[in-house]
């Protein structure tokens, strides 16, 4: 299950997992299970029901907390999306009459498997979000996080209304515009300057790779679907099981695409951190200018000085924690890539072997039957 982020739970003082999830129409209810030795919790072990919106709320509160500006806030899990498989299921139901019985059964089986894979994936990303928080020295002590884990009633988080939604949208726009403006400013610190260019570059590449990987898995899935149809028709001649191709598609998606997608979001988070730092830097420089102006006019000098000092402090703090975070992010990324690549290679090998076996088997069948 913990394929994306590795060894997040080496610290056993706070262990979180989602052992169970329930899908009710559009809503998915996760059971968040916590095991802890920290005395800030009332009990050592407890489970609470949480919905996707609760996770988003938690993420938003973390983002809005001023003190965390210098930290990479783990990306929020994406909204559960069962539309794809569900729509396919619907289509399948409509097309039932045009297919043979075996074909239908096979397609259904395949869709169920796909649905399950999507479901598992959804649970996984939510779990990882919490695990990232719990393994972080600062976030694990966050009040809201603890409430999220412990409060055994419905959090009844107010859903974002349309205005807020658009507000958020607008904020994003402003942010990205600001980002563009600020990105032109040369950083004073060599490390951050490097990190910035690296991340920007890396982000665009990984975004590209993710898109391509998604495309690849999708076409892989198409091939697999074709095989289902063909094998159902060919079954008259041979009876060759060719299901494995489908498995590969979902596995591949789970491994590679998920990894890339996750890190794309993670990098986004890291970029956000850099943005916040850059913002702070800009603020600092602005305050410097303000101070100069004040000095020039010999007016409000103490106030400006105070402001400048604060900005500098904030910037320094951000820089320091940012440096730390980025370094750890790098290590984490490498470890995660390693683990996933190994797993993917192993899976590919396993599936190829299964396919070989089935091909040999059906060839044997052919020889004996006809």
């Amino acid at each position: 299950m913990r394929s994306v982020s590795v060894d997040l739970n080496n610290d056993s003082s706070l262990l979180i997992d989602i052992p169970d999830a329930l899908c009710e129409r559009d809503k998915v209810k996760f059971t968040v299970h916590t095991k802890t030795t920290l005395n800030s919790f009332q009990k050592p072990e407890f489970s609470v029901p949480r919905q996707h919106e609760d996770f988003i709320w938690l993420h938003d509160t973390l983002v809005e907390t001023e003190e965390y500006a210098g930290l990479i806030i783990p990306p929020a899990p994406p909204k559960p999306d069962f539309e794809g498989p569900r729509e396919k299921m619907h289509k399948l139901g409509e097309g039932e009459s045009t297919m043979t019985k075996e074909e239908y059964a096979k397609m259904k089986q395949e869709l169920e498997a796909e649905y399950l894979a999507v479901f598992k994936k959804t649970v996984q990303v939510h779990e990882i979000f919490l695990q990232r928080l719990s393994s972080h020295p600062v976030f694990s002590k966050d009040r809201n996080f603890q409430i999220f884990l412990e409060y055994d009633q419905d959090l009844s988080v107010r859903r974002k209304n349309a205005k807020e939604f658009f507000g958020g949208f607008f904020k994003n726009m402003v942010k990205s515009a600001d980002e563009v403006l600020i990105s032109g400013i040369k950083d004073v610190d060599e490390f951050f300057e490097q990190e910035k260019t690296f991340l920007l570059d890396y982000f665009s590449k990984i975004k590209d790779a993710t898109a391509k990987a998604e495309k690849m898995t999708r076409s892989h899935k198409n091939v697999a679907d074709d095989y289902i149809h063909i094998s159902a028709t060919v079954i008259l001649h041979t009876g060759v099981p060719r299901k494995v191709e489908g498995r590969v598609a979902s596995d591949q998606e789970l491994k590679l695409t998920e990894l890339l997608r996750y890190y794309m979001r993670d990098i986004q988070a890291a970029k956000d951190l850099l943005y916040r730092r850059a913002r702070a830097l800009a603020d600092y420089e602005n305050s410097n200018k303000a101070l100069d102006k004040a000095r020039l006019k010999s007016k409000d000098i103490p106030q400006a000085e105070e402001n400048q000092r604060q900005c500098l402090q904030k910037f320094d703090k951000l820089s320091e924690s940012g440096k730390q975070e980025l370094t750890s992010f790098k290590g984490r990324r490498v470890v995660a890539f390693r683990k996933n690549l190994i797993e993917m290679a192993e899976l590919e090998i396993k599936h190829a072997k299964v396919r070989i076996k089935s091909a040999v088997c059906s060839e044997h069948n052919l020889f004996t039957h006809n």
Binding site: F198, D201, Y202, K205, I206, D208, A209, K212, A213, K215, M216, R218, S219, H220, N222, V223, D226, Y227, H229, I230, T233, V234, L236, H237, T238, V240, K330, R333, V334, F337, R338, L341, I342, A345, E346, E348, I349, A352, K353, R355, I356, A359, V360, S362, E363, L366, F367, N370
Partner: protein, 655 residues
């Protein structure tokens, strides 16, 4: 061997046959004695100790044909006006008779008083003489053979054809080549020639045996071809002889030889015999000419040990329309008899235009390769067919240096347009024919064929989409490989960066793998299906031919019914002057009805045989191709494992 020896008189009771049975028995011996002046041949025919089953078909002919030819003419005399109809038929008969005589040299060696041992010798001799014999029959056209009129035998000037032939054949044989005279001593030789000469002359009267002249030609040709076959290839000879058997079936009104199709096993056994030593490959597609007049020429190389070809190895260049022309010729000749004539790949204006215009386009290269492979499979199918292989056009196609330009194969030409109209009228008449099927086998098979057609079409569409999707996959994999490579280049952890570029390489190779697999999907699987969809069209066409034959028979029956009614009316009206004419007409139509019925039976038998042959071939083809396909899958998967296994340590090396 077993097959042909089992080719026993059928259980199928024909009304006429029963009537004729006594005649047959009576006359058989008499006639034989009459015909083969010395009575030697009658001995041969009746000779039971002859061990080879090769005597069987010969017996058919000798016992049936004479009986037949003498039945009718003796009763009816040669006063009948419709000679032309029977012309070619008797020709066929004669030729087949001669062939038989030539082939089954045992027959003739026996009466000479030679023992079995000697016959072996003769056999040997015949092997040596194969070529000369082939020359005799092969090089001269039929016209040549039947050129000289033999006035003595015939009194009917409008029937010049068959009067000449026997004499011609044998005189030529005597004069031109030593071979036959080697085989059969003079006396024996004259005997059959006399027999042959005698027969057609009597046959002139047998209008009941009349066939449509075009069909006759066909049979005559087919049987002439037979003689080209080397006698030492016993198996093949017998097979080759098969087409002649229906011919003789037709010619004998008793039609004892085989109106009833053989049982399934028998047919299957026969099929097992066709092992042709004939390899055909189509290679080196080459663009000839420029612009819109350009065309592709292919090298058609043949390798064979069949003696019907002039050499063991030969190469000709053919263009696509030549292939189409071959098909046109073959289908014109054979389709109406219920044969499944393998169809060539379709003309593709779009594809060809691309080839003509485009220089080095991968898609046009693929098109050419695809067509080349399809043409090769097409030719292989043609020569695999025992009857089509015997066709002179096939031989000409494979052997002849220059072929007359095939006309009427252009899709947009006037001929093409005419063909389209013909097809349309055919389709309309097909819809209007309501055939109440008498044979369950055909009904079931036709249904099977139709559902198979549907299924194959469906499967073909699926495989097509598989190919498209796999190509997409390969494209996407390539793109992914590129972007992973980029990612690797900007990764600052060295080990990870290396692993990523390795991954990019792996994905690159996998892309190639997918591409190869896609072309395998296409060439092995999709093309097989496309071939069979086309072939199924030919199978259906042969069912249609059977239906047409049936329709003709029914029409003739209706006509006969009408004539009878007219006769009754005339009787009633008491008009004796017209009565005679009506009676004549009835006789004429009765003959036609029985003729068409036999046609129908013959076509049915052929269709049945062909369908069984087709099914066997299909199973074999599919099995072969699927195994090939699975093997290609296997290989690509093994390759995949190799790639990933090589990658694994790289991934593990990431620190």
């Amino acid at each position: 061997m077993a097959a042909s020896s089992e080719r026993s008189p059928p259980p199928f009771p024909e009304s006429e046959e029963q009537e004729l049975e006594p005649d047959l028995e009576d006359e058989d011996s008499d006639e034989g004695a009459d015909i083969f002046t010395g009575g030697m041949l009658s001995d041969v025919v009746m000779d039971p100790p002859l061990p080879t089953s090769a005597s069987e078909p010969a017996k058919d002919i000798f016992s049936d044909a004479p009986a037949d030819s003498f039945n009718d003419p003796l009763n009816k005399t040669s006063a009948e006006p419709e000679k032309t109809e029977s012309t070619g038929l008797s020709k066929a008969q004669v030729v087949s008779l001669v062939d038989k005589a030539a082939d089954d040299e045992d027959l003739f060696s026996d009466p000479l008083g030679e023992s079995e041992d000697v016959s072996a010798e003769v056999h040997k001799a015949s092997q040596n003489d194969v070529v000369s014999k082939a020359d005799l029959f092969g090089d001269d056209d039929e016209e040549d053979l039947f050129k000289e009129p033999l006035g003595a035998v015939t009194k009917k000037p409008q029937v010049p054809l068959f009067t000449e032939e026997p004499n011609d054949i044998f005189t030529e044989a005597k004069a031109g080549s030593k071979a036959p005279s080697d085989l059969f001593t003079e006396e024996t030789f004259t005997a059959p020639s006399a027999a042959a000469a005698a027969k057609p002359s009597v046959n002139t009267g047998s209008k009941t045996n009349g066939l449509h002249s075009d069909e006759e030609d066909l049979f005559a040709e087919a049987t002439v071809e037979l003689s080209l076959d080397s006698p030492h290839n016993d198996k093949r000879k017998r097979e080759a002889a098969k087409p002649s058997v229906p011919a003789s079936t037709l010619s004998s009104s008793a039609s004892t030889s085989k109106p009833q199709p053989k049982t399934l096993e028998e047919l299957e056994e026969e099929e097992n015999e066709d092992k042709f030593d004939l390899n055909i490959s189509v290679t080196n597609p080459e663009k000839v000419g420029d612009g819109m007049n350009a065309y592709m020429a292919y090298k058609v190389s043949t390798q064979t040990t069949l003696s019907m070809f002039r050499s063991k190895q030969f190469v000709v260049r053919r263009r696509f329309s030549d292939f189409l022309g071959l098909y046109e010729k073959l289908s014109e000749k054979h389709a109406q008899n219920g044969y499944i004539v393998p169809p060539p790949p379709e003309k593709s204006i779009l594809g060809m235009t691309k080839v003509k215009v485009g220089k080095e386009d991968p898609s046009s290269a693929e098109f050419v390769e695809r067509r080349r492979a399809a043409l090769e499979r097409y030719l292989q199918r043609v020569v695999c067919h025992p009857s089509l292989l015997q066709d002179p056009d096939v031989r000409e196609f494979l052997e002849k240096e220059e072929l007359p330009r095939a006309v009427g194969t252009q899709a947009l030409s006037g001929a093409g347009f005419l063909k389209m109209i013909n097809k349309a009228t055919d389709a309309v008449s097909k819809m209007t024919i309501k055939m109440n099927e008498s044979d369950v086998w055909f009904e079931e098979k036709l249904q099977e064929v139709e559902s198979e057609d549907q299924q194959l079409r469906k499967l073909h569409a699926m495989v097509d989409s598989l190919v498209i999707h796999r190509k997409e996959l390969s494209m996407n994999t390539a793109m992914f490989a590129k972007s992973v490579a980029m990612l690797g280049s900007s990764e600052d952890n060295t080990a990870l960066s290396r692993a990523l570029s390795q991954l990019a390489e792996v994905e690159d190779r996998i892309e190639q793998l997918h591409q190869d697999q896609a072309s395998n999907d296409f060439f092995i699987f999709a093309e097989l299906l496309a071939d069979y969809i086309r072939l199924l069209g030919a199978v259906r066409a042969c069912f249609d031919q059977r239906m047409k034959a049936w329709q003709r028979w029914q029409d003739a029956q209706n006509m006969l019914q009408k004539k009878r009614e007219t006769e009754a009316k005339l009787l009633w009206a008491n008009k004796p002057d017209k009565l005679q004419q009506a009676k004549d007409e009835i006789v004429e139509w009765e003959a036609k009805v029985s003729q068409y019925e036999r046609d129908f039976e013959r076509v049915s038998a052929t269709v049945r045989k062909e369908v069984i042959r087709y099914e066997k071939e299909k199973t074999r083809d599919f099995k072969k191709q699927i195994i090939r396909y699975l093997e290609s899958l296997l290989q690509s998967q093994q390759q995949l494992i190799k790639y990933w296994e090589a990658f694994l340590p790289e991934a593990k090396a990431i620190a």
